[in-house]
């Protein structure tokens, strides 16, 4: 099953995401609490897909996306957004985001998005 890295500053979001992903059979191999930590863990773990929150301290999700895609063009990154982040979504698409999922998470939608990205 696909290996997933979760990058989100919210413990709540990480826990909800991990619960859904693991119940769908994905292997959550790591978690990071900001964009910089996400980049470091990507380089170390080389997951099949990353879920990347947009709004984070230290290094935000879009900067981390650019950094990961710059060094690892094959990386697959699903951006996690709240409603109302249209401008950020456009910026993420331009920076190479593969897909989006919106909070609050809907398990079926999340599974469909991750399946699409890793297939």
């Amino acid at each position: 099953m696909a290996k997933v890295l979760i990058v989100d500053d919210s413990r709540t979001s990480r826990k909800i995401l991990k619960g859904i992903l693991e119940s769908e059979g994905y292997d959550v191999i790591g978690e990071a609490t900001n964009g910089q930590e996400g980049y470091d863990k990507y380089a170390e773990l080389k997951p099949d897909v990353v879920t990347m929150d947009i709004t984070m301290p230290v290094l935000d999700g879009i900067s981390a996306l650019k950094k990961i895609k710059g060094d690892f063009p094959e990386a697959k990154v699903v951006m996690v957004t709240a409603a109302g982040q249209k401008t950020k979504m456009v910026e993420a698409i331009r920076s190479g985001a593969n897909e989006f999922v919106a909070k609050p998470f809907e398990p079926e939608n999340l599974k469909a998005v991750i399946d699409k990205v890793v297939s």
Partner: protein, 298 residues
């Protein structure tokens, strides 16, 4: 929603006990079926369509009936029929009190009169609260202060989302504009862009825990930073829906990273802090909103 205010008044006056109030609230809520369930039971829409609308409500600040009509699942007249069938929550509350011999109808009428006098409410104010329509209720709660339309919209949207995602059993007391708000816990987020707005929940912890548990669907044993984090995730979703609303009005705001405090926190800004007292299952938390950027957080 009127029953929440009136019921609390009856309890505070010692006319009914806290236990009687809770019993009546539970009984009246149990008699009120959700609109989606009613629509499916009536054969107006499928369960899948109802689920689709429930999901859409996570992204849209719209009522179930409005979305159903816009997607062609229900007609306006079907929504009207369903709302009638669903029943008036205040009448259900009254019915539950009378059935339990807690108060007679005449006694309730007398207490309503006394409540209106005590709270200086007009018949129109009471009708607005009884309607359950947040957009009509908020102006009644704002009569002690003057605030900008954008903050008024934010309060209304937040009230709808608390009822939708957290608990239908909540009430908002009179809104006030103050110099500072202090609390042992705070979950906050700043919206930045065309507007700069500070938003946050400040409270003792129990109400934050209720928000956290309802949103994260997780039980928390203690009130700590994890509770604040989960409450802030709800705030983040709420703010996302607000940003979507603003975006439809060509106003662009971005959400900044959350501010989580599990130690005494105080926000100060001379006569510029809007304090919205919210009671969820009788636990108090303040929704704090502040325009522009003169606030300081200690």
């Amino acid at each position: 929603m009127f029953e929440a205010y009136f019921g609390k008044y009856l309890e505070d006056q010692g006319i009914i006990t806290k236990e009687q109030y809770q019993e009546v609230v539970v009984a009246s809520q149990n008699s009120r079926v959700k609109l989606g369930l009613l629509a499916v039971a009536e054969g107006f829409m499928t369960e899948e369509e109802a689920d689709e609308i429930n999901d859409a409500q996570h992204r849209l600040d719209k009522r179930f009936g409005d979305i159903a009509v816009s997607r062609g699942y229900l007609t306006d007249s079907q929504v009207e029929y369903l709302l009638k069938k669903q029943g008036d929550s205040y009448l259900l509350f009254v019915q539950a009190m009378v059935e339990r011999d807690i108060l007679t109808l005449d006694e309730i009428q007398e207490h309503v009169k006394a409540y209106k006098k005590a709270e200086k409410l007009s018949d129109l104010d009471v009708d607005a609260i009884k309607s359950g329509d947040v957009d009509k209720i908020i102006p009644v709660l704002l009569r002690n202060c003057v605030i900008s339309p954008v903050i008024k919209d934010y309060i209304a949207l937040s009230a709808r989302n608390i009822g939708r995602f957290i608990d239908r059993q909540f009430r908002i007391e009179m809104v006030d504009v103050v110099d500072q708000v202090s609390a042992p816990f705070a979950a906050a987020q700043v919206l930045d862009g065309d507007y700069k707005i500070f938003t946050g929940f400040f409270g003792e912890g129990e109400a934050l825990k209720l928000i956290a548990e309802a949103y994260a669907k997780e039980e928390f044993e203690v009130i700590d930073i994890d509770v604040v984090d989960a409450a802030c995730e709800f705030l983040n979703c709420n703010n996302g829906l607000f940003a979507t609303k603003l975006s439809n009005e060509y106003v662009d705001v971005d959400m900044l990273p959350p501010i989580l405090r599990d130690a005494p926190t105080c926000i100060k800004d001379d006569a510029n802090i809007v304090k919205v007292p919210i009671y969820i299952r009788d636990q108090h938390v303040d929704l704090v909103i502040c325009r522009e950027s003169r606030w300081s957080l200690e």
